[in-house]
Amino acid sequence: MDISIALILGQDGITNGAIYALLALALVLVFAVTRVIFIQQGEFVAYGALTLAMMQGGSVPATVWLLLAMGVLVTLFDGAAALRSGQARKALGVAGWNLAYPLALAGLFAVVPVASLPLFAHVVLTLAIVVPMGPMMYRLMYQPIASAPVLILLIVSVALHIAMVGLGLLFFGAEGQRTPAFSEASFDLGPLLITGQTLWVLVVSALLIVALYQFFERTLYGKALRATAINRVGAQLMGISPALAGKLTFLLAAFIGALSGVLIAPITTIYYDTGFLIALKGFVAAIIGGLASYPLAALGALAVGLLEAFASFWASAYKEVIVFTLIIPVLLWRSLSTHHVEEEE
């Protein structure tokens, strides 16, 4: 291996690592606030990329109907509860967000020919469709069992992962999709070829990380989430609703997932079942961060990306074996250096 190959591999590893880092941050956030191990994070990546690809292909993305279906269910549950307790205005609000909004989106697609819209509008629409599924999913699937043990929450995640992959196959088909790059620009830097899209990935990841930091440090909601992550009961006593915290977290996680999907769709081919392995690597990074530390998780993500890039050069047949075997010592080190906390169950 010469230096130029090492540089190229490094660049490749960092690009992938940036995506893993975003996912790792979302996983850490979701776990800290809700104790849910968010396996479906990867499906949000795939849904984001494939929804965009469907619009690029000129058809109405099938995910709109899923959003509508979820919205109807949420409206039924929450709206009925609000009506029963005589809060008509609240019921109206619930219906507004969960019913009127998806309907409005569906209406938009009925009126405006999808193919005529520019790429940027497609990206915005993709996020508008996929991101609200996060909080709706929390409301429907996790809120009723928010106090269950971690193992049960994990199994629910696995079940939802299976269902989402099945839906993905139904919506998008088995073949892969690729979307056009945000920018066709590319320039050489020594042996490196830097494409505009790579820059997009790196810059957006960095911006997002900074924005998240600001959100947690500066805003009221951010602080509320942090408080919930540190002490769930305490935060509840202080008037922070765990349901709200959960929904907010899932909103952020879904946003990060869908955005990651949109970002990498031009670099690689995305399939309905791509999400699992990507999320698994984000999960590895998150665990390296102890499911608690954001900076360590981000570093872990870069390490996983780099390890993967170099392993695929040295021994591609054994790539996964190498990546997953080498994390065991890291886990051991993390495990021994983390203050031992008795499991809560």
């Binding site: 994990l154 299976i162 074996v321 075997t325 495990s335």
Partner: protein, 597 residues
């Protein structure tokens, strides 16, 4: 015959005649259910009971399957190996040995992982082993190995579904029986204690690392045996049935059936296997054959089930068929457990010399000295934040002093783990009650006798431990009676009032036959009557020569009971003496009341 025996007998009879009644395809399904249940059973032990989540069981199934597949189909084995390939039964032994070795290595690497690191560790080696199966050309690569011979048993060739059915279910029933026996034994209580908290288990003398390794290996061996049966039933192996997705599915089965219950394994495996079949039959009728809706409906159904039944399905099924719980019989004729000879009254048992403990800049204990003698009760009191709990930790060996030393029976406590200290005769209760809420009071107390008995996993599994078990239960029952919880002996420990739970902890500590009893706020949450009874008990123990150290807030309780008092404030000893003297000591009054007006 009791109702549960009757049900069990009925179940076995049904199993026996099923092949004659059902169509061959449903026998095939039952075969798969049996295999899955065996793996799920390992997970019940590992995850449901022991609290260790594993995604990697499918890899162990693969080890069992690949060992036998490779050995029985190899055209030419090296001479020293050739005899193994001669019969599937020998390859079963080989597979079990290999699996045990691999599990030992993986376990020693990953079981040290705490909390959420462990599940990821299992995913890691699960994926690694899966890709290794696929990458090694000698194992047929991704395409797989064909032509695996059927199993022969007493001249019978088990090459049809209806024949191997009996073998699979015999394996499963034996595995269930031994698991059931194991859980209902000394080792079983130690395993069940893992989930409740390792600190308590260690304080009772349980080697929790060993217990974790044991259940990890047992679960791996169950999976390996299932893999062996799978290979000879399918007569073909390739890597796909041993991937992480399938590993997750096994966990799924265990949790859905009821991860804490032996029967949950069958229920989970059965429900998932049959449900998938039905979905495959019904959904195309309902929704058309153009798409595949099985995964979607399956996933959502699973979520709905878990919403309604967090403990899994087995507890719900159990309620449908009310079988009165069988109470453990206490055999009064059982020989008592051996007891240690207590030191003569007045002999110093515990000596703390100039103990200082610093946390960074904070001095939690400063130059603390105290002494507990046989046949006396010493109280350690002080206002909140005085450093009593830190001192308690130094004495019980949970923490190590920065300087100074603690001697127990003349030997330093520092450098010994909780287990050794327990073995030496120190037994404790906890400030925040640590017990296993779903186990009965009797079984909770019996954990205390862990070190006074010695039957291991194999004797437990095959019920060779019953004489010793009777002695343990008799001892536990006696201690329960002694502390006044006799009426609650068969209740779940979690259903007791907090005060009673504290008393239960004392009974558990006594069950260890200690010579020094460390009690951390035993009177908190007790009513007056209960306090009086507790006082009586402690006095009686004192008269038998027991040394007791009490950390307590309740002045009235302490002053009427104890022989001497040590008072702490700001990490230091500010007074020591008889209760009467302490009550008049101005420094103590200052500390407690903020000065005398």
């Amino acid at each position: 015959m009791s109702a549960d025996r009757l049900l069990l007998g009925g179940f076995l009879a049904v199993l026996l005649v099923l092949p004659a009644v059902l169509s061959p395809y449903y026998i095939t399904l039952l075969n798969y259910i049996g295999l899955y249940a065996m793996v799920a059973l390992g997970l019940v032990l590992l995850t449901g009971v022991g609290g260790l989540t594993s995604f990697g069981q499918a890899a162990f199934v693969g080890l069992g399957a690949y060992t036998t597949a490779a050995l029985t189909t190899a055209a030419e084995l090296p001479g020293w190996l050739a005899w193994v390939g001669a019969s599937p039964w020998l390859t079963l032994v080989a597979g079990l040995l290999i699996t045990a070795t691999v599990a030992l290595v993986l376990g020693s690497l990953t079981l040290k992982l705490s909390g959420h690191f462990l599940p990821l560790g299992t995913i890691a080696w699960g994926i690694s082993l899966y890709f290794l199966f696929g990458t090694m050309e000698s194992l047929g690569g991704h395409t797989g190995i064909t032509g695996i011979p059927p199993i022969e048993l007493f001249g019978w060739t088990l090459d049809e579904g209806g024949e191997i059915y009996y073998l699979i279910w015999a394996f499963l029933l034996v595995a269930m029986l031994t698991t059931h026996n194991l859980l209902d034994s000394r080792e079983g209580r130690a395993i069940r204690a893992l989930k409740g908290g390792r600190v308590m288990a260690e304080a009772m003398g349980v080697d929790t690392s060993r217990a974790r390794m044991i259940i990890f290996i047992i679960a791996a061996l169950h999976a390996c045996a299932a893999g062996w049966l799978y290979a000879h039933m399918q007569r073909f192996v390739n890597p796909t049935p041993f991937g992480v997705h399938i590993g997750i599915e096994y966990l799924f089965m265990a949790v859905l059936g009821g991860a804490g219950y032996v029967w949950g394994a069958i229920v989970g495996a059965g429900v998932i296997t049959v449900l998938k079949q039905w979905l495959q039959d019904w959904l195309p009728q309902l929704l058309g054959a153009s798409g595949n809706f099985e995964m979607i409906v399956f996933g959502i159904l699973m979520v709905l089930v878990l919403h309604r039944a967090r403990e899994g399905l087995w507890p719900i099924l159990k309620k449908l068929v009310p079988v009165p719980a069988v109470r453990k019989k206490i055999d009064d004729a059982a020989a008592p457990l051996p007891r240690r000879t207590l030191p003569a009254a007045g002999e110093p048992i515990l000596v703390a010399k100039n103990v200082t403990r610093k946390f960074g800049g904070l001095v939690a204990n400063n130059d603390m000295s105290l002494e507990v003698r046989a046949g006396e009760i010493l109280a350690l009191i002080g206002p909140n934040g005085a450093g009593k709990s830190t001192m308690f930790n130094q004495i019980s060996g949970v923490d190590t002093p920065t300087s100074g030393e603690v001697l127990f029976l003349g030997k330093p406590v520092a450098g010994h783990d909780s287990r050794e200290i327990a073995r030496m005769g120190m037994s404790r209760s906890f400030q925040h009650v640590k017990l296993l809420p779903t186990m009965s009071v009797l079984e909770n107390v019996a954990i205390g006798a862990h070190l006074r008995s010695g039957k291991g996993v194999l004797s437990s599994a095959w019920r060779l431990d019953r004489a010793e078990e009777a002695r343990i239960l008799k001892e536990a029952a006696w201690q329960i009676e002694r502390v006044g919880l006799k009426d609650f002996m068969y209740e779940e420990a979690g259903s007791l009032a907090l005060g009673q739970q504290r008393i239960l902890e004392i009974a558990r500590a006594l069950c260890a036959d200690p010579c020094l009893l460390l009690l951390d706020e035993p009177a908190a949450g007790l009513r007056l009557k209960e306090k009086q009874a507790l006082g009586e008990l402690l006095r009686k123990l004192r008269s038998e020569g027991m040394a007791t150290l009490i950390v307590e807030h309740d002045m009235d309780f302490v002053m009427g009971l104890v022989d001497r008092v040590v008072v702490m404030e700001f990490g230091q000893k500010i007074a020591e003496g008889l209760p009467d003297e302490i009550q008049k000591n101005p420094a103590v009054l200052e500390a407690y009341l903020g000065g005398v007006e």
